[in-house]
Amino acid sequence: MQSLILRTATRLVVALMLIFSLFLLWRGHNLPGGGFIGSLVAATAFALYSMADGPAAVRRALRIDPRLIAVIGLMTALIAGLWAALAGVPFLTGLWNKIPLGEGAELPLGTPLLFDIGVYLTVLGGVLSLLLALEESEVDDDRLD
């Protein structure tokens, strides 16, 4: 689709949506949100981008093959679950590591977040590889006509 309005607006909206998706991922631990929802918002952003500028632009922006993103995500989730084996507790048990920030504040980093990031990447990679495959076959069809 060639539309100046869409392309200009997309540039702004995509950036906002991607930031919002990361925000959802972060806040999802205790509040509505999480890896799954966050990645769907990110996938929507890329879908919008591909409508405005075409699937090739999306692939350039991603730099890596979406299928690979999904594989990395699956691995991350598996590692997050297996981390528990090192601590001798059942699979997927949440483990926490607190990083002191000074003045009594601390940043708890844990395997649930790692697992959520895994989910985020898996869903993002999966949805995008489907979406781009469909968009690209559409481009091919247009060329045939």
Binding site: N30, L68, A87, V89, P90, L92, T93, G94, W96
Partner: protein, 523 residues
């Protein structure tokens, strides 16, 4: 030890993910798959031996106590099923080296096979109904991908029928889960066992039981619901069809056995139990008869074998429907023996096609002269399927017939015996047409070009067939160990005390030993 049920899902899952990461090289993928399948087999053996020694083994995911968390549990039946899954998976992975073309490998055959095995294995070790549904979905998605790899027109046609009808089943399954949860407030098998007995509405409970029966009935291809199976199983390559025919329908049968022994027991359903049992018995009989009659009028080897899956499912359901210890022993024995035999027959069919160029009985023949070894390797699973002594199928049928006679259910025994006879008819038809009759194109059409072509890749094809045939003979000649295994599985099914203690017994005694919980610690 409590990691063993987890590993039986994680090993194939990790193999699949690593396989996807190595999607650039088919050779690395194949090596990974063979390695992963071997590890899976080792884990399955360790699981069965742990269960045999210590009783059911449970694991609580994320250290959340049952019934609130997700429980994985393996009792004797689950562990034995996981072992058979691992054996079938390894056999088909080896066979695939000579059967699956480069195109399908590039599209991800090996990882999809492992995802499927993870799904099957997960369904066997899951401890709650909802995760059973999740694993069914994993199986459905990966089997759909496997079935449509290569995307031949006929294959897509088969795959769409397969998925459409299985979606109906999963939808019904999900609805039934919702109703069950509404009535009991829990979905954990061990918890449900007690909870359903407090439901004050046996009629509604029986209706939900029948919904589960229909949902699992579609999955396991029983009498009025089997039509998706012959419409799709003959389309994919034989390495894939063998996994499907061996495992997928049997997961449905497993689910039926599980849910009717731990949730919808005679105590829970009360007066309605006799109704459900009668329904199961009719389904069993009609499944046997229609399956075998359907097979009798086919002339494509793959279709004959597909219809025989249906007829054999009838025997397993019969064992469940009799609902005696001996009946369940028969069902479990049949389940275990049948997976090996059926997968093997499909693998043999693949070699037959390789050597003769067709699955159509009218167009092939003369195989006995070319390959007497293959003829013997076909006879073993074929006669076992029909129930010839001393092969594994004989004992399976023997136990079921005994169980039927015990409760004086004459007509189902008669049906079982007649269907056995008709199975011999189908198997001798394949034997006569494919092996004894001269090839319609003359011997030249068969032995020279096809024989030489097959000589190249026949090694990885014949090795798993021979291994599975050996298992069939071993079960046949030394039936006692498997019988004892089935007997113990049946005893655990009819008295789930050990199962329930395993699920709840692993509760942490002192809450203090638990790691800081995420809810308390998170910002």
């Amino acid at each position: 030890m409590s990691w063993l049920p987890v590993l039986s899902v994680l090993v194939p899952l990790t193999t699949a993910v690593l396989g996807l990461a190595a999607s650039g090289s088919a050779r690395v993928q194949r090596g990974l798959t063979l390695f992963g399948s071997t590890v899976f087999l080792a884990v399955a053996l360790a699981l069965l031996s742990a269960v045999w020694q210590h009783g059911p083994v449970a694991a609580q995911m994320g250290d959340w106590a049952a019934p609130f968390g997700i429980t994985l549990i393996a009792d004797t039946l689950s562990a034995a099923m996981v072992l058979i899954t691992a054996i079938t998976g390894l056999a088909c992975a080896v066979y695939a080296a000579g059967d699956i073309d480069d195109g399908r490998r590039r599209q991800g055959f090996y990882p999809m096979l492992q995802f499927l095995l993870a799904g099957v294995s997960g369904a066997f070790v899951t401890g709650d109904v909802f995760n059973l549904y999740v694993w069914f979905e994993v199986m459905l998605i990966s089997s759909f991908a496997l079935m449509s790899l290569g995307a031949g027109r006929r294959q897509i046609d088969g795959a769409v029928k397969y998925v459409a009808l299985n979606l109906v089943s999963t939808l019904l399954f999900l609805a039934a889960i919702g109703l069950l949860y509404g009535m009991t407030g829990t979905l954990n098998f061990a918890d449900l066992h007690g909870a359903v007995q407090e439901v004050d509405n046996p009629g509604l409970l029986a209706a939900v039981a029948v919904m589960f029966l229909v949902a699992f009935g579609i999955k396991s291809a029983v009498f009025p619901l089997f039509f998706w199976l012959p419409a799709s199983y003959h389309t994919p390559p034989m390495a894939i069809a063998a996994v499907f025919s061996g495992l997928l329908t049997k997961v449905g049968v497993y689910a039926l056995i599980r849910i009717f022994t731990i949730v919808f027991t005679d105590e829970a359903l009360g007066d309605h139990f006799a109704y459900v049992q009668g329904l199961l018995l009719w389904i069993a009989g009609l499944t046997m008869v229609t399956g075998v009659l359907g097979a009798a009028c086919q002339s494509d080897i793959r279709r004959i074998l597909s219809f025989h899956i249906i007829s054999q499912i009838g025997y397993m359901v019969m064992g469940l429907a009799l609902y005696t210890t001996l009946g369940l022993v028969g069902a479990v024995f049949y389940l275990l023996h049948h997976i090996v035999v059926k997968a093997n027959l499909f693998l043999v069919a693949g070699v037959i096609e390789r050597l003769t160029g067709s699955f159509e009985l009218k167009r092939i023949g003369g195989l006995y002269a070319v390959s007497p070894l293959l003829a013997v390797l076909f006879l073993i699973p074929a006669f076992s399927l029909a129930g010839f002594p001393p092969l594994s199928g004989f004992w399976a049928k023997f136990v079921l017939v005994r169980a039927g006679l015990e409760v004086e259910s004459w007509w189902i025994v008669a049906a079982a015996l007649v269907v056995g006879l008709l199975t011999i008819f189908s198997m001798t038809k394949i034997w006569g047409e494919a092996f004894w009759k001269p090839h319609p194109g003359g011997t030249a059409a068969l032995s020279l070009p096809a024989g030489r072509r097959a000589g190249v890749a026949v090694g990885p094809l014949v090795a798993p067939i021979a291994a599975l045939a050996l298992i069939t003979i071993t079960i046949g000649l030394f039936a006692q160990p498997l019988y004892l295994l089935a007997e113990r599985a049946a005893a655990e099914l009819l008295d789930p005390t050990a199962y329930i203690t395993a699920v709840f017994g692993s509760l942490p005694v002192e809450p203090a030993v638990v790691e800081p919980t995420p809810a308390a610690e998170a910002p």
